[in-house]
Amino acid sequence: MLTKRIIACLDVRGGRVVKGVQFVDIVDAGDPAELAHRHAAAGADEIVLLDITATHEGRGTLLETVKRTAAALFVPFTVGGGIRSAEDAAAVFDAGADKVSINSSAIARPELIGEIGESFGAQAVIVAIDARRVEGRGVEEAEVFVSGGRKATGRRVLDWAREAEDRGAGEILLTSMDTDGMRSGFDCELTAMVSWTVQIPVIASGGAGTAGHFVEVFGRGRADAALAASIFHFGVTDSRELKGELQRAGVSVRLPC
């Protein structure tokens, strides 16, 4: 049976793992390669590394970090942040990534989705969507934000998810800016809406705090995978422990792992 995936996410800035609360308040949490291996050994099904430096000087550091992280990592490895062209993506794949995650650059030029997919396959392209609900409106009006959540696009999450799929995205990484870093649970309503809309897998992100939150997003939220960052870094729990709890709650997970 196909299992629900637990994805450990490392937000990296200047070669170090950091974690913000609602996109600000950065805290140092360690070395990316070391943390990636620790997460994989502790049962994470995938690793995502998001480079939030996104400066030109930072690119070399990022590729070096990706190379070091990928060297002995035998679970799927996704890299995102600052990938603006098929050439940028190729450099990241060469360094050892299996998938790239694109966000602002895909909104700016949606053709990029197909361009990367053509050379590396649709499975290698994740379109990341940062979503925020509009006050006083229904979830279907949730809006797409770019540039690390600083800029509104005026586009509806639903429409963009559908377009991303049509253009050949392999997966959608959906982050709720409303719940991100709050540890109060995923936005299940939003996740379910996107999951009903597209055929491709939806990775829920933003708000993980307890095992119960994962049970909810895999059930009511219809997520295929869920991403967690802050709950793992500081040893609150690890994937294996989390999966044990999910299994007891009836969620199918990769165990033993």
Partner: protein, 203 residues
């Protein structure tokens, strides 16, 4: 020498890196039919569209593989590389595969058992009914998880060495004598995947 065929279908970095990590000696990434025909082992990786395999014929690699396999070289196809061992795929009608195994690869059904089946099939799923005599699967037990990402699948047939269930059973592993294939990505399948690649290297 292990020839890893580069036919511009996706990313070879992970496969090469993993084989080298496991201590493979003399891995060569190649498009040269002479190199492939003379190799002791041949690996055909590949993610993406079945159409990409058309390059194999154009480059003379189909005949090279046939020649090396006939001479007894060990062959491992990964993902689309497994599918290519069959007669063809509905993903690229009219394009023939190696035809070493009978059957055609087909897309996952949109509906299974009355409910919607998501496609592609992405994630960790278990290998079942592993054939005990399989050399490639030595030390891997049924129920072990591996990482898949694909929308087309090969049918279950006499050479199927393990199945996975998703919208019914499909061929997760195929093996007959020196010709083998895995639909999952062993280089991304943690301990189980490493075991499979190690078994291949030790043949």
């Amino acid at each position: 020498m292990i020839a890893i065929i580069d036919y511009k279908a996706g990313n070879l970095t992970s496969v090469v890196k993993t084989l080298n990590y496991l201590g493979a000696r003399e891995t060569v990434v190649t498009q040269d039919p002479t190199v492939v025909a003379g190799a002791a082992k041949v690996v055909l990786p590949g993610v993406g569209h079945f159409q990409a395999t058309s390059l194999l014929r154009e480059l003379g690699l189909t005949d090279a593989v046939r020649e090396s396999v006939a001479k007894g070289a060990w062959f491992l196809g990964i993902c689309v590389g497994l599918q290519w061992l069959f007669e063809g795929s509905t993903e690229a009608p009219g394009l023939v595969g190696l035809g070493h195994f009978e059957g055609t690869c087909e897309r996952f059904p949109a509906l299974f058992d009355g409910s919607e089946l998501k496609s592609p099939h992405v994630g960790w799923n278990s290998l079942e009914k592993i054939r005990t005599a399989s050399r490639l699967m030595r030390g891997v037990e049924s129920g072990g998880y591996v990482y898949y990402t694909h929308s087309w699948r090969a049918p279950v047939m006499h050479a199927t060495a393990a199945v996975t269930e998703y919208g019914g059973a499909f061929t997760g592993v195929v093996e007959k004598d020196n010709v083998m294939g895995v639909q999952f990505h062993p280089e991304k399948s943690s301990a189980v995947g490493l075991q499979v690649l190690k078994n291949f290297l030790e043949l």
